[in-house]
């Protein structure tokens, strides 16, 4: 199994001295070439799980394994795309994409050639010499995705990469992600709170509970491939969205009630 998350738990100490359990015994598997989304309400520990899988945070219990090898610390096999704007503003698009190759010690000519391939893949050819502040938010996120893909990771791990974009751009970028996924056959785990995005892109969607985060249910998305955003108009698509919302509604309501209690 390319990615196996087994029994991961994490508890944080709150500022008032109490402890908050963010994750409780989370287990999940992603098969070779599969696109899996992890969906949950705000505060369910999605980003904590993202950091634990990516090796930026240590879980209290449980393991993360790639191809059967349990991993510790930062993972060469897992490429992360972050929710926040994460391009280096002092580097051009090409230099941003070449960054992991530079760390790997590749020569300038080789890393530029490889970086150009991934710039083309995300549809940014012609923008290689632009700086991030000369690009739109969607183009900056595509640069970040190209940079992670240039790392050629076994697993692509994305944490709400389009969260800051408007709905239409997000749907269109979903098409781009599907095209890249088809081309690279990249095993992908997407963390999101957006149901439409999860259904549009995924083979399976894992629903998380509100705090502590657990896997509540895994839904197989049996929609035809290759897909495009046009599938959003189909009745089947609507059925999956409705099904997932039924699961999420209860969790999101718990989250909202908790937030209101805390701020009261």
């Amino acid at each position: 199994m390319p990615l196996r998350v087994a029994g991961v738990s994490k508890t944080f100490a709150a500022s008032d001295g109490a402890s908050v359990q963010a994750l409780d015994d989370v287990s999940l598997e992603v098969r070779d070439g599969e696109f899996v989304s992890l969906i949950g309400p705000s505060g369910c520990g999605k980003s904590t799980l993202f950091q634990i899988i990516g090796g930026l945070l240590q879980g209290d219990r449980g393991t993360v394994a790639v191809d059967g090898n349990a991993l510790n610390g930062s993972r060469r096999d897992i490429g992360m795309v972050f929710q926040e704007e994460s391009t280096f503003p002092w580097r051009t698009v090409l230099d941003n994409v070449a960054f992991p190759l530079e760390l790997a010690g590749l020569g300038k000519a080789e890393r530029e050639e490889r970086a150009r391939r991934f710039v083309r893949l995300v549809g940014l050819d012609g923008f290689e010499r632009k700086f991030p502040d000369e690009l739109s938010g969607g183009m900056r996120q595509r640069t970040a995705i190209a940079r992670t893909l240039a790392f050629e990771p076994r697993i692509l791990l994305m944490d709400e990469p389009f969260a800051s974009l408007d709905e239409q751009t997000r749907i269109l970028l979903g098409d781009k992600i599907l095209q890249i996924w088809r081309e690279l056959k990249q095993t992908t785990l997407l963390i999101t709170h957006n149901i439409t995005e999860a259904v549009q892109l995924s083979d399976r969607v894992a629903v998380m509970t509100y705090r502590p985060g657990r896997i509540k249910r895994i839904v197989e998305i049996d929609l035809p491939r290759p897909r495009s955003s046009e599938i959003i108009a189909s009745a089947e698509f609507g059925r999956y969205v409705g099904l997932l919302w039924q699961d999420l509604r209860e969790e999101a309501s718990r989250g909202m009630a908790d937030a209101e209690r805390t701020t009261a």
Binding site: G54, L56, S74, E84, F88, W90, A144, R147, F151
Partner: protein, 249 residues
């Protein structure tokens, strides 16, 4: 991004406009010629400064002292600022004290430095360093603190070690703030270097300004002041070039 000649021409036009206005104001008697020399008289005094008063050598002395003081301040201040960032408790313990020193009139310590170093350019370098290192420390720390954590996480996710994170993420992210600190350092260092040259007759442009004033050669004094402004402009341009050379935009 292409830098046009427009801004340079606009700057020169403003200086020329001010010079014409000053010339007319002095000629009309609105400003006393004993206090402010007209620009034509200042320009006329330039050859004298160049060929009789050794302004070239004075420039070199002031330039060397200011440059040495600032280079030392950068060598000490940037690592110190990084330490204050890296060890948060150090930052909390010392930031206020360092900021308080910044507002203290440190130039008044010059007699002590004269006693320590004797009447030599080392006094100017030491004083310039003392006032210049403070903004470098404070702005460097500010720059590192302003680096967004997600950029560090990106590098870490690609397996970068601490040294690579410092070199490829933190330093470039902090570069604009560090250069702001270096520009402030140059300004304060030069003010102090010139001040000490003036007060302790230690040569350089500061001494030349004082010498011309003592002789009551007002046009030559203003000409020496203009040389000071040009030196400062040169430093500013050099800093900008250094920043671009290091990858700034």
């Amino acid at each position: 991004m292409r830098r046009g000649a427009g801004p340079v021409l606009a700057g020169l036009a403003a200086v020329a406009g001010l010079a014409v206005a000053l010339e007319m104001a002095v000629a009309a008697g609105l400003i006393g010629g004993f206090v402010v020399a007209p620009p034509t008289a200042i320009a006329g005094a330039m050859p004298k400064l160049l060929f009789e008063e050794g302004v070239g050598r004075a420039f070199l002395v002031t330039f060397a002292s200011t440059f040495s003081a600032s280079a030392l301040a950068a060598l000490v201040g940037i690592p110190a600022g990084y330490l204050l960032y890296r060890h948060a408790w150090l930052g909390r313990a010392y930031e206020n004290w360092i900021a308080a020193l910044f507002s203290a009139p440190l130039i008044l310590l010059y007699p002590m430095f004269l006693v320590i170093f004797g009447r030599s350019p080392a006094v100017c370098v030491a004083m310039g360093f003392l006032v210049g290192v403070i903004p470098v420390i404070l702005k460097t720390r500010e720059g590192f603190l302003g680096a967004r954590p997600v950029l560090v996480n990106v590098a870490r996710s690609f397996g970068a070690g601490e040294a690579e994170i410092l070199r490829k993420v933190l330093l470039p992210a902090a570069r604009p703030a560090i250069f702001t600190g270096l520009r402030l350092c140059l300004i304060y260092a030069m003010i102090n270097v010139v001040g000490i040259e003036f007060l302790a007759n230690l040569g350089g442009l500061g001494f030349l300004v004082g010498e011309m004033f003592d002789r009551y050669d007002i046009p030559a004094m203003y000409a020496a002041l203009i040389c000071l402004v040009l030196t400062s402009t040169l430093f500013y341009a050099l800093t900008g070039r250094a920043e671009r050379w290091l990858g700034g935009r």
